[in-house]
Subunit: 357 residues, 2 copies
């Protein structure tokens, strides 16, 4: 049996996804080629596709027994939908959605992320604004620019690129972003509304929203299903669990203190893995027929690659695809969904403020 | 085998605890006698008591195999602690904590609840303020009084008695309460902070806080344990799950759409039942040795009672106490903790605003 590198990985250890970059995914996908897959569009019928806004049937590739959930394709659909709506709004009321990004310091990875967001905005017709402040800026200066964007009616979403320099209080800077423009959805008021029945958040965090969107687009029903979320980060695991619960799943949350992660995971009909530990979820953790959404994007050594590394998920793909009924690949699964959801949130914000249906 | 009325109850149906009165408990305990129990203080050694602030050992009665978690006793301890702190603060800085209650309409139960809160405040030396508005008041009038309390430095906690008359928008009235005085902890900003790692809510909702406090006081460890919360209401189930997760339990949330509630519940080391369905959780649902916190307070017909009814929990006590290692009775378990936590939250608020340690 070929089980790829999963078997040679270190014994599963459980690390919190504290350093998960909320937006790494979108970028990584740009830099990397997609995994081999056979496009078997005839298999699409096995899912009741919910792509009501798109006339295209969704591609469903088959690898071993699992269907491959193609995030790259779905994110493209969403971008096209956003572009069409941006254009319709501009024609109807002359308003163009705008996204402002605040970048502090000289981190190369952050600069790349910001550049990619800018490109993504351009590709769908959303205006992008950028402020780039030096590493040694004062907190008040950053807040001053955020306040300016709060007051600027041409800005509908504000995103502070993390991490901020260590001398800054991340929490107080993020709190300065107006909740009406918090397209990241990380404001505690948004998280609170997400947790509460009968309340509606203004924005849902992009990566977990992307996970649920993939399930929806592939017609995978959530209601009444057992869902296990692995990881409880503020940016993925926790909001993903709240979203699944809003859709009437019965949720369990597995984390670094969980004593029997494998056993609990094996009870799940739907697994969302967001822990930042390469290949942690092995085939034996998976109930036959479960659906797997793999949020992890972990670099592991790869002598065959010219870069010396390759990217793998939190789930051992080679094993999982033999047990699961559907699975997202890494890269090309959840990754591209994050920026697509950011664009969608920015559009939603502009529509809301202008009461445009 | 005597299994009491559980066997004659209707087949377990699962209703959301939508009408659970967040404060019913404290009052019911006043009106009802406690269940029979033998006070076996010698058994207290079987729990590592965490009542660090109290020198009294906690009473642990034994009924069948389960220890009885005595909420009436613990709530008395907490009230005594609050009273001592109120007195110390008054002597040190001349400040007396104040709780304001807004009551609209003529519901007798609401009037009773408000009266009991007032009495509880008096008993620990907290000032209580009350506004009683007529049923046909306008929303703006209610908000005007809330604003007055928001601005009043002698008021440290504001509580709007629910339900409000049907012509009022409950959400917008509750939103008018300043987050610094939201001693109920129901503001979405507080719930969001409760959900997020690294954030601290200003207040934690009283009933779930009372559940966790009982576990703490009885030295029941939570970290790494599997906890199942039955019910996902905004006022009990959901915040109880968030609290358990903050304490590093592995949580699962069972609700009206859960397909295999019994099986999932049986996996739990700790069960918090908050669903408002009499005797729903049967003995067979419980893993031997599990700890049960029963939030339900359900009236059921009882021809032997002069009132024609008695109160039972969501858990079939007669069966559960033979399987569990510890259990809260109904009444006398979680019930009395709610008002105790309300007093504690009001004290915390006053301490915070005056920076009194």
């Amino acid at each position: 049996m070929v089980i790829g590198e999963c078997s040679t990985s270190t014994a599963p250890r459980f690390f919190p996804m504290s350093r998960l970059r909320k937006d790494a995914a979108g970028i990584l996908v740009r830099r990397l080629s997609l995994p081999r897959r056979s496009w078997a569009s005839s298999k699409v019928q096995s899912f009741r596709t919910l792509a009501v806004r798109a006339s295209n049937p969704l591609p469903v590739a088959s690898e071993a027994s699992a269907k491959v959930i193609d995030g790259k394709y779905v994110s493209k659909l969403i971008r096209d939908e956003v572009a069409a709506e941006v254009s319709r709004m501009k024609e109807a009321i002359g308003v163009v959605p705008g996204l402002a990004v605040v970048l502090v310091g000289e981190r190369k990875d952050s600069a790349t992320y910001v550049r990619n967001k800018k490109k993504a905005c351009e590709s769908v017709g959303i205006n992008s604004f950028e402020v780039h402040l030096p590493e040694d800026s004062k907190e008040e200066e950053v807040v001053k620019f955020i306040s300016g964007f709060n007051d600027d009616p041409s800005v509908h979403g504000i995103l502070v690129q993390l991490p901020l320099p260590s001398h800054m209080n991340e929490q107080s800077i993020l709190n300065a972003v107006s909740i009406e423009k918090d397209v990241d959805g990380f404001h505690p008021l948004n998280i609170g509304r997400l947790a509460m029945r009968g309340r509606e958040p203004l924005f849902v965090p992009c990566t977990p929203k992307g996970c649920i969107e993939l399930l929806h687009r592939y017609g995978i029903s959530i209601k009444g299903k057992r869902a296990v979320v692995i990881g409880r980060s503020n940016i993925v695991g926790m909001p993903a669990a709240l979203l699944l619960q809003r859709e009437d799943a019965t949720i369990s949350i597995v984390h670094s203190r969980t004593q029997n992660a494998e056993e609990i995971t094996r009870e799940a009909d739907i697994i969302i893995a967001a822990v930042g530990q390469p290949n942690m979820v092995r085939g034996s953790w998976i109930k036959p027929g479960a659906v797997i959404i793999d949020v992890g994007i972990n670099p592991v050594e790869d002598s065959k690659s010219s870069r010396g590394y390759k990217l793998v998920g939190d789930v051992c793909y080679e094993e999982a695809c033999k047990v699961a009924s559907a699975i997202t690949p890494v890269p090309g699964g959840v990754g591209p969904m994050t920026i697509a959801m950011l664009l969608s949130n920015t559009l939603t914000s502009a529509k809301r403020v202008h009461n445009f249906q």
